[in-house]
């Protein structure tokens, strides 16, 4: 819920871990998660989207949300560039869960690049994305409608007017967008998805 949970919640959850008191045995995870999910802090507005996605969450989040067909080799290659090797565990404490580690220029830059690669993936037998078909499946055919859909999914519904306009601008200027007639409609929709995935708003959990 946060990189900095309250000490009270940490200690009360630790107490549940040791003495669940609901018939579970000490050390079981289910009552621990229940304690967390039922806490007021978990639902507090201040703790909404308060953590930074790890590269795993960034990549798999995009793949799941936009039905990007996974290809193990490609996904692990993208994750390596993002600084988190898939299924690896650097000694001694693994990959950091706290945001400070992932907010640096190289990491943000690689996310912009990875967003481009994910949105443009079109290998028929490997990693592939079809954001145009995805938009059509959601009955979105206008530039505004598609932008709105992509932002709603990636930004937890809380995007600003400027973010909307910045994403919309990726369609390119000076012509009406037509998802059926424009020969480069597919490329334009991919560009918008790439931009939105690379925006800071998509880096928050």
């Amino acid at each position: 819920m946060s990189d900095d949970p309250s000490p009270d919640l940490v200690s009360s959850t630790a107490e549940v871990f040791m003495n669940p008191g609901d018939g579970s045995r000490p050390g079981e995870i289910t009552p621990v998660l229940k304690r967390i999910f039922r806490s007021a802090e978990f639902w507090a507005a201040a703790n909404r989207r308060a953590k930074i996605k790890t590269p795993l969450e960034f990549v798999l989040g995009a793949a799941r949300a936009f039905h990007i067909t996974p290809d193990g080799h490609e996904l692990t290659r993208v994750m390596h560039r993002l600084g988190m090797d898939f299924l690896e565990f650097p000694v001694p404490t693994g990959y950091p869960e706290v945001g400070g580690h992932w907010i640096n220029t190289n990491s943000l830059f690689e996310r912009v690049r990875a967003a481009h690669d994910l949105a443009h993936a079109d290998s028929p037998d490997g990693l592939s994305a079809d954001p145009r078909a995805f938009a059509l499946a959601h009955d979105r055919v206008t530039a505004e409608g598609i932008t709105e859909l992509f932002l709603a999914i990636t930004h937890g519904g809380e995007y600003t007017e400027d973010e909307f306009r910045a994403a919309l601008s990726q369609f390119g200027p000076n012509r009406p967008f037509d998802i059926d007639l424009l020969p480069d409609a597919d490329e334009q929709v991919r560009r918008v998805l790439a931009a939105v995935l690379g925006f800071p708003g998509n880096q928050y959990q």
Binding site: S2, D3, D4, A46, R49, A50, K51, I52, G83, P92, G99, G100, H101, I103, N104, T105, N106, S107, L108, F109, E110, V112, R113, H116, D117, T160, D162, E163, R165, A166, A167, S169, Q170, G172, R191, A194, A195, G198, F199, P200, G201, Q203, Y204
Partner: protein, 422 residues
């Protein structure tokens, strides 16, 4: 002094580095901060991560205990007929033969060695000891010392510092946002020129408006704006087609690439003041090997030496304004272990290379390796505190006299290895 820092923090928070604002900010910095401008110089800190065995870098072949304690991994005394033997430095110390490529810098007076560098109450954890050294203090709560240097001085440069690698090292972490770049050649947003400009403009907008009252947003804004400023600063550099000067040949893989791209940034005239480069793989608990060609430690040292040699060759006379410090988090046990390796220890060898180094010398007294002189009978004690090297660099090379701020709670005694110092 606090005033300068506060002003600079304000500048950073206000978006220093944004292309659209850079010209007006440059003007402001030039007029407001003129007192701290010094000639263009670049410090390159090479960190050997994993704990490099300094006893087999600057080899004390004149110390008989060295051979008693290292029956299979010791480097033989200098012998021109033996390619696995040490390269004599001063009749007592020799250089590991794998470092042959940088011996000439010792001979021409630009390479200095510090064979026993460390700090009091040391940690033998890789992570902690790296963190302490990079923080300039045995503490977990401080920013990196290089970042404190950036925060306490200012120069009107487009790109003052860069950390080469996938993430920023502790030494550059802190209030001043510094970029980490793994490969300059791919440090550009995807697409053709107009798509690139279009995406950069959009990113600039959305980074800039990250609100301050939610977790991580302020950091996201500052780092994002730095990213866009740095992408703009290096946009004209073609790292794919870089011909090194003077026939220099860099080693392959990331270490060589990072040194080459450091040289390229220096030549590009962006005002690069600090670069950090890492070389890992020094944790030689087993099969460390001695001086033989193909042995593990020798292979690592060859990579280090070929990189430094290429860098200094490429930069030529520019090395007069460049200083390379090679450091590591700790040395290794004096006695080799049962796996023909060495374990985590204390003092190790550091190196300094550059035109301003008063080189061809070995700095610091030698503790000697008799068991009674070792800490707990196992570890090489230090005779130079690493902070004296860093502080000498800060005061004598970077022109930062605020040593108390850079190295808190430390009484600095200069290690006079730079030529300009009195």
């Amino acid at each position: 002094m606090m005033n300068r820092r506060t002003v600079l923090k304000g500048l950073v928070a206000g978006g220093l580095g944004l292309p659209a604002l850079s010209s007006s900010l440059t003007w402001f910095v030039r007029t407001g901060q003129a007192q701290s401008i010094s000639p263009a110089r670049t410090l390159v800190v090479v960190f050997l991560r994993g704990g490099c065995d300094g006893l087999n870098v600057c080899v004390p072949y004149g110390d008989p205990a060295y051979y008693d304690l290292r029956p299979t991994i010791a480097i033989a005394p200098p012998d021109p007929a033996d390619l696995a033997s040490a390269l004599d430095l001063d009749g007592f110390f020799g250089l590991h033969p794998g470092l042959g490529a940088i011996k000439r810098f010792y001979d021409d007076g630009r390479l200095a060695l510090f064979p026993a560098v460390h700090y009091p109450q040391p940690s033998r954890s890789h992570f902690d000891s790296q963190h302490f050294i990079e923080s300039g203090a045995r503490r977990k709560d401080l920013e990196g010392w290089l970042n404190r240097h950036l925060a306490s001085t200012s120069r009107p440069e487009r790109m003052r510092a860069v950390g080469f690698g996938k993430s920023l090292p502790q030494s550059l972490r802190g209030s001043v946002v510094v970029s980490s770049i793994d490969n300059l050649a791919s440090f550009r947003v995807p697409g053709n020129q107009s798509e690139r400009d279009n995406l950069l403009a959009a990113l600039q907008t959305v980074y800039r408006e990250q609100p301050s009252d939610r977790p991580h947003r302020a950091a996201m804004r500052e780092v994002g704006e730095q990213l866009i400023g740095d992408l703009d600063a290096v946009a004209g550099i073609d790292a794919d087609r870089y011909p090194p000067d003077n026939g220099a040949v860099y080693p392959t893989r990331s270490f060589g690439r990072h040194l080459q791209q450091t040289a390229q940034l220096i030549k590009a005239g962006l005002g690069l003041e600090i670069a950090t480069v890492d070389l890992g793989g020094w944790d030689t608990h087993e099969g460390q090997g001695g001086g033989q060609v193909g042995s593990r430690h020798r292979h690592m040292l060859e990579r280090l030496a070929s990189g430094l040699n290429a860098f200094a060759t490429d930069l030529g006379d520019r090395m007069d304004d460049v200083l390379v410090i090679v450091c590591t988090e700790f040395g290794r046990t004096v006695r080799e272990n049962g796996s023909r390796g060495t374990d985590h220890g204390m003092a190790s060898t550091w190196l300094a290379l550059g035109g301003q180094v008063d080189g061809g010398q070995i700095y610091g007294s030698w503790p000697t390796l008799e068991t009674g002189n070792l800490v707990a009978g196992r570890f090489l004690p230090y005779t130079i505190d690493y902070r004296d090297i860093f502080a000498t660099v800060a005061a004598g090379f970077l022109g930062n006299s605020d040593i108390d701020y850079l190295f808190p709670e430390y009484a600095f005694s200069p290690t006079k290895f730079l030529r300009h110092e009195s």
